[in-house]
Amino acid sequence: MSNTNPRRAFLAAAGAGVAGLGFTAIAPGLHLMAVGEANAAMRPAGTPASPAIRWGLLIDASKCAPGCNKCVEACHDENGISEQLPDPRQNSQWIRKIELVDRRNGRTTTLPMMCQHCAKPPCVDVCPTGASMKRADGIVLVDRHTCIGCRYCMMACPYKARSFVHAPLTEQNPEVPRGKGCVESCTLCVHRVDKGQQPACVEKCPEGAMTFGDLNDPESAISKRIAAANTTQVRSDLRLDLGVRYQGI
């Protein structure tokens, strides 16, 4: 609210919009659109999420550095996860680092684990109120307006991806409302994706181990990498058709 000049605020918003779209103005009304697939285009105001898109994430575990927690910190900053409860098991975990050890030879792999944004999400199947939902572009979310906090989805999720908020909160980010009595999980930074940005964890990964993009678009960076390399869906035996894929596990 420090910016009190409405005209200046408008100009700043317009500038941010142009930067987000990756446009370069050649002449008035004529724009050159950046071809790089790093940032998806910002969805224009008033248009719903498109079912033609399926947002996904490719995580290269061979690049993921042991002991690095940058993705988790980026998630906490972006989504305002700041509570420290007396029982740490009750803290929200939208993303966590896990370590896999091969007992025969001690080979260690670390990777970030979060909501896998299934195409057939068990959390949506079991939700008694319809709060657990999948958006048209494949992002699985909790509608807190209808969530009653029964935690059935937490039991149904094979990836332990969901958390329950146990205590009242006051430090929420304006774009990420969260509160006591509701279940929550990774939103794939839906508020950033809708602005044409990448999820916070992808942007902050110092190793560049995470690729975000449209799985339905064969020309996107993520689709090309999945077509070229051997990638895994965790617990693929459940046939949930995951949006998050791993490489090197």
Partner: protein, 130 residues
Amino acid sequence: MKLLRILATLLFATAAVSPAPTFAGEGGRTPKPTVTIETPGKCVAPAEEMRRNHMEMLKHQRDRTMRAGIRGEPASLNACIECHASKKTGTVLGDGTGFCQSCHEYAAVKLDCFECHQPKAGFKAAGVKQ
């Protein structure tokens, strides 16, 4: 008789000195809420319509944004907060003075938007470091 007259004068004097509260309606008995509009004339709809329908507008918008992913709608809780947060306290809450809370307290309507939504304008949360 003299004592009675003194008492009546005293009573009249206290009534004249005490500040007159604003009352709702013509000859109403209940005090009005203190509503301060920080940036007048910029609302998405006329005040009369906002007073009656803001809850319907927000309810429909929340479903469109949350479920269908439609952004940039004219009615938005964040936009309300950015505009209506008190210049002094930075929030739409606060006992009897915050834009949202003062009216809802007066109307005895429970305001539970802010159990999840951030009531402060321009708030930036810092996450926990591990």
